[in-house]
């Protein structure tokens, strides 16, 4: 069988690429997609462990993570649309009011 650390390596790589994307890009939508990528990496780890330890809780939790991710995307994109309506751009550097 495939040893578990292969899956862990893969998930780490995917997570890191997600982080890279969040740091790299200035478009809010791309950042969102990279966040989804990170969530998926975590899902992968959970399922891997669930299989290897014969525990169903891992998969159930992935189930919930997916539900939450869906909800989060819906609301997040709605916010993005409101932002676009107000500023006509999706550049995150424009949203710099969160300061003193």
């Amino acid at each position: 069988m495939i040893p578990i650390d292969y899956y862990l390596w893969l998930a780490a790589a995917l997570f890191t690429i997600g982080v890279l994307g969040v740091l790299f890009r200035r478009n809010a939508i791309i950042i969102f997609m990279c966040i989804e990528l990170m969530l998926n990496a975590v899902n992968l780890v959970m399922v891997a462990f669930s299989t290897y330890l014969n525990d169903a809780a891992g998969q159930v939790f992935v189930f919930f993570i997916m539900a939450v991710a869906a909800a989060e995307v819906a609301v997040g994109l709605a916010i993005l649309i409101v932002m676009y309506r107000n500023t006509q751009t999706t550049d995150i550097n424009v949203l710099n009011r969160l300061k003193w």
Binding site: T16, I29, E36, V47, E72, A78
Partner: protein
């Protein structure tokens, strides 16, 4: 054979993830992300989590990514017109990500000692469903309320505003 499949799927996943990050057009990024999701679904099948694999494809690739596409098209972001971050920041970001990778891998060291149990059938729909509806009933119900809240929020936020509602003028 499984190992080769694993390598192939991993390669596809990592490659398409990189392309998500690096491609210019947002639509391309979305498409590459869909490919990534599919490969991860393949990994789930390899891990004997069939229900999750299917749900993954339906929810993520079928629903979430479609939503993304809709929004991109609504906002007409077809062309890549955003200014990029400065090169210094990009290098810093790459270094950070690399560090993160190293740390993650380091923290996961020692897990190859794990001995795999006998192949189980917890990934099947029937078994998963049983666990879901007995041990995890409450979170299940609450998740539905969560989805309801998200729906209400999304609709409220996305409503078209009349001109004389308060508008935040951002500079």
């Amino acid at each position: 054979m499984t190992l080769n499949l694993f390598y192939f799927l991993s390669f596809v996943a990592v490659l398409s993830a990189l392309l998500v990050v690096l491609s210019r057009s947002p639509v391309h990024s979305v498409l590459y992300l869909i490919v990534t999701f599919f490969s991860i679904a393949g990994h789930y099948v390899l891990l004997n989590a069939q229900f999750l694999a299917v749900v993954h494809v339906i929810v993520y690739a079928g629903a979430i990514m479609v939503l993304f596409l809709y929004v991109i098209m609504l906002l007409n972001l077809n062309k890549e017109s955003e200014p990029h971050k400065s090169n210094l920041l990009k290098i810093a970001a790459a270094i950070c990500a690399g560090l993160l990778m190293v740390v993650l891998v380091g923290s996961l060291k020692g897990t190859d000692m794990l001995v795999q149990q006998a192949p189980s059938d917890i990934g099947y729909v029937k078994n998963l469903g049983q666990v879901l509806f007995t041990d995890f009933l409450l979170p299940f119900e609450i998740a539905s309320i969560l989805l309801l809240a998200a729906m209400v929020g999304a609709v409220m936020l996305g409503k078209a505003e009349k001109p004389d509602d308060n508008k935040i003028h951002m500079k």
